[in-house]
Amino acid sequence: MIQKIAGWMDHVLLGFWKSFFEFARELGDIILFATSSIRLSFAKPYRWTEMVRHMEFVGNQSIGIITLTGLFTGLALSFQIYLGFKLVNAVNLVGPTVALGIARELGPVLTGLIVAARAGGAMAARLGTMRVNEQIDALDVMGVNTKQYLIAPRLYAAVICMPLLTAVFDFVAMVGSWFLVVHLVSLDEAIFFDKIRQTLEVRHINEGLFKAMVFGLVFSVVCTYRGFNTTGGAKGVGEATNRGVVVSMVMIIILDYFLTNFIRVYYSLIGIPA
């Protein structure tokens, strides 16, 4: 019996270490993949046209969905906070609470999740299809540096567009909040804006935009890595897309916590209350 348990524990431990080393190896691969792609982007020929094309896809084409989700997030969040604050007679604080929550947390996180699902998924699927159809091999044998041509412009597009989309999300969510607070539950408009002005600072918005940039880098690196290294035909493309999107989303949520703490530590180091 004891031998059986020891054998089982050995098996579990071996599995754990195997998974751990596999994870470490893959993480190393992803970091090398991202750094080499970024390094290559500084070499000629510069891929401006490609970058703008991907910015149009990641940025412009996401505005609709970001606006829609931002608006309803603002409405729903404000309504919930209003219901809660009404119990403690603090409805005047709905505006600033929503503003802080949106600017620092929900704006970058929800934008990250939506754009990772939409643009990240498309990146992984597109690169995966190019891989299995030998289009990446074709670029390779044509003497085109595939990381420079296919990966770097996508990474830059995501890093540049994510803060812009987050700003759009923040603004639209606050419009939703204003509409609910002022027009649906009829609170005072002047108090709504005055309280926000007293509480929300530019640094709070910048925090969110900084997080958005990091999330943009994370999902674009993970999804392009998955797509670029796709194997196994159509099934492989599906798996690469699925894993790329799921890993990106989980990483965005986990990273958000660590970034929040990192920013808090940074503020305490420079003497600003968080």
Partner: protein, 252 residues
């Protein structure tokens, strides 16, 4: 003046450290020749081709292409050196978000930045006409043209930079007999028009290999079993070659 365009010397390849796909392969492909690589499935034909293209590094051995040992090249040197190659892939590997004309222009825009846009379009148009594609298809996407037209476009793209070596990776697999003959003839015509271009064709199609190739190499178990002219293949005493040729010719 180099005699061989491609020289594989004792090339070994393993992906997992256990099983070897290439087992000490030696092969010299003469400059200016049209060489067909044939063999059973899984004998290392495509792996060998990818080694010559520099897509896979050998586990050991050396590969000389146009007098350069490409196994000693770093990634950037290899990328630059590949401008000497033109490749027609099995599925044509056209960029599906570009039109036919844009596909052929692509390598020119990449490597001939000194050329004006009009000149690039002019060259691409000439190449597309050379492979027999009508102008009315130039603005179509690859998904809007037939398999045969896709092969023609792929070939025109491979020819765009006037490469020193043209590779054909199973160019007729999956095509009907009429298209197969058309592609074979196209390869032969392109090779003749190329004047000095070395062509390497990996193929399952023995009829085509013996009809259009100057030399044929048969691979088996990661090695070259026989390299010679098509006549050599009909005269050989090697049992496996005789069996392969006999069955292959009868089957097709």
């Amino acid at each position: 003046m180099i005699e061989n365009a491609i020289s594989l010397k004792d090339v070994w390849k393993t992906f997992d450290g256990k099983e070897y796909i290439l087992k000490g392969m030696n092969l010299d492909i003469k400059k200016g020749s049209l060489t067909a690589i044939i063999g059973f499935s899984g004998t290392g034909k495509s792996v060998m081709l990818k080694h010559i293209l520099g897509l896979f590094p050998p586990s050991r051995g050396s590969i000389e292409v146009l007098g350069h040992n490409i196994t000693q090249f770093d990634k950037n040197q290899l990328t630059a050196f590949r401008r000497n190659f033109g490749v027609l892939f099995q599925g044509a590997a056209l960029f599906d978000d570009m039109t036919v004309l844009e596909n052929v222009c692509f390598p020119l825009f990449e490597h001939r930045r000194d050329l004006k846009k009009e000149t690039v379009f002019e060259i691409a148009t000439r190449k597309l006409k050379q492979v027999g594609l009508e102008e009315k298809h130039f603005q179509k996407l690859p998904s809007q043209i037939s398999g045969g037209m896709q092969k023609r476009t792929g070939l025109a793209r491979a020819l765009a930079l006037d490469p020193e070596i043209l590779f054909y990776d199973e160019p007729t697999t999956g095509l009907d007999p009429i298209l197969t003959e058309m592609v074979d003839n196209l390869i032969l015509e392109t090779h003749k028009a190329g004047q000095g271009t070395t062509s390497v064709m990996v193929s399952h199609d023995l009829h085509a290999a013996f009809r259009i190739a100057d030399y044929v190499a048969m691979l088996n178990a990661g090695q070259v079993l026989l390299y010679g002219t098509p006549e050599d293949f009909f005269k050989t005493d090697i049992e496996l070659v005789k069996k392969f040729v006999d069955k292959g010719m009868r089957h097709q």
